[in-house]
Symmetry: none
Subunit: 141 residues, 4 copies
């Protein structure tokens, strides 16, 4: 399946809603398609201005490597040189910290990724997973 | 004034609405703040996948140089070497074609830019201007 | 639909077969998926060693902009500054010359692109189109 | 001797065959010539989309430094700053982890490298070595 803009908007809305419900700091949320290309993005008022790149890096690294960005963070602690090389391979767009959540369809195929940044990494990932579920997808964060 | 996410969403919605009304091809629309940082983006279904960079380049060039991207297109035809240097100065994020529309408040101050791509450059700019007006701003395209 | 490796191999084999049938110079053929990511590549013996980048640039530009690379060549002649900006936007991976052929499914959706280089640009495009047809796709070159 | 496309195809087929036999995860396999230029590549269905760069980085680093990428991983653990500089020298195309296997002819000369990614690094290297042997070469992994 191909992720639609409506799905991407639903994901962003639900991620932001969880942020408000849990009183998180202002969130920035990007949705990438299965090829890592940007589909939609929103940065909440009060978030630092440079958050697009951070949200994109979480989601892009997840898509390129095929694992949630949380796992890239674990790999970075164990093998920093390897994750450094990933960053270079993927044009610097790899952020090894939780918040980059793979979006899978019912069959398990990766259809895109959502990248969230703003609060703690764990909360960022929770917001992304909530977004995935709202769009009828499984979020692997 | 500082552009809000709600305004950005209004701009994108109104630009897309004009696109549907005029039967334009699928649009991609980005809104940048006064510093050129990404605030919101949406890519309509059926648009080529790489459209984020193109929309961003129209709006970013406009913000950095302080003129609509249409004018950068005129400059590029007259002085290609100068616009080539602008592209290099601004990390390649300069697209010299109409569709990058400056957003001005009632006092004339630049508060951001909207970048639209998908249809003819003229139509892209019209959509951006419609977006600006819907948010109570003046669009200079 | 998602392009499979078997389809990509069929495309490459058929493009190369046309090259041999028409006595073209050694061909290099890449197949990219709908997101512009590399799926398969072959460089025939005797081709210049740097042909991967050239084949990729034809196909990648086509995917990112949503038009065959032949059309990017026409645009480059008319508006060189615009195509120069596309090259910068897409990491230099834009070759504005025929041979980058969009792959469309029966419904018209872009599912990838094939990039061919080695002979004349027209022959390169013919080889890519032959490849598309062999895989049950429509090649737009 | 100069590596041929037929040899490269044999290497890829044999590496993939070992992957299927050992029930490895979907593999991506690149073959580079003695100059580090891409000769052939295949990405199996289900592999993460960004695997070309990873496969290439394993093989390219091996060719440029003249050691298997496994050894670059050992060097990276001992002298991370040195391997970081290699990455910069070689355009970021250095992945310090097993799976980049040097291809040597009967006389011991390096004729190319195969880069495999998808399963554990050790399994990746085993697949590359199997590919080398199938083509009548010695794989140093």
């Amino acid at each position: 399946m191909t992720l639609t803009l409506d799905q991407a908007r639903t994901i962003i809305a639900a991620a932001r809603a969880l942020g408000r419900e849990k009183d998180m700091k202002p969130l920035s949320v990007v949705v990438l398609d299965a090829g890592g290309q940007v589909l939609a993005f929103e940065r909440e008022d009060g978030a630092p201005v440079g958050r697009f790149a951070l949200a994109q890096g979480k989601a892009y690294g997840a898509i390129m490597v095929g694992v949630p960005s949380r796992q890239l963070g674990v790999m970075a602690a164990e093998r920093p040189h390897f994750v450094a090389s990933l960053s270079t391979l993927y044009d610097g767009k790899v952020v090894p910290a939780a918040g980059g959540v793979l979006l899978r369809d019912a069959g398990g195929a990766i259809v895109g990724a959502v990248g969230v940044t703003g609060d703690t990494s764990d909360n960022d990932a929770d917001a992304g997973i909530a977004g995935a579920e709202a769009a009828g997808l499984v979020g692997q964060g």
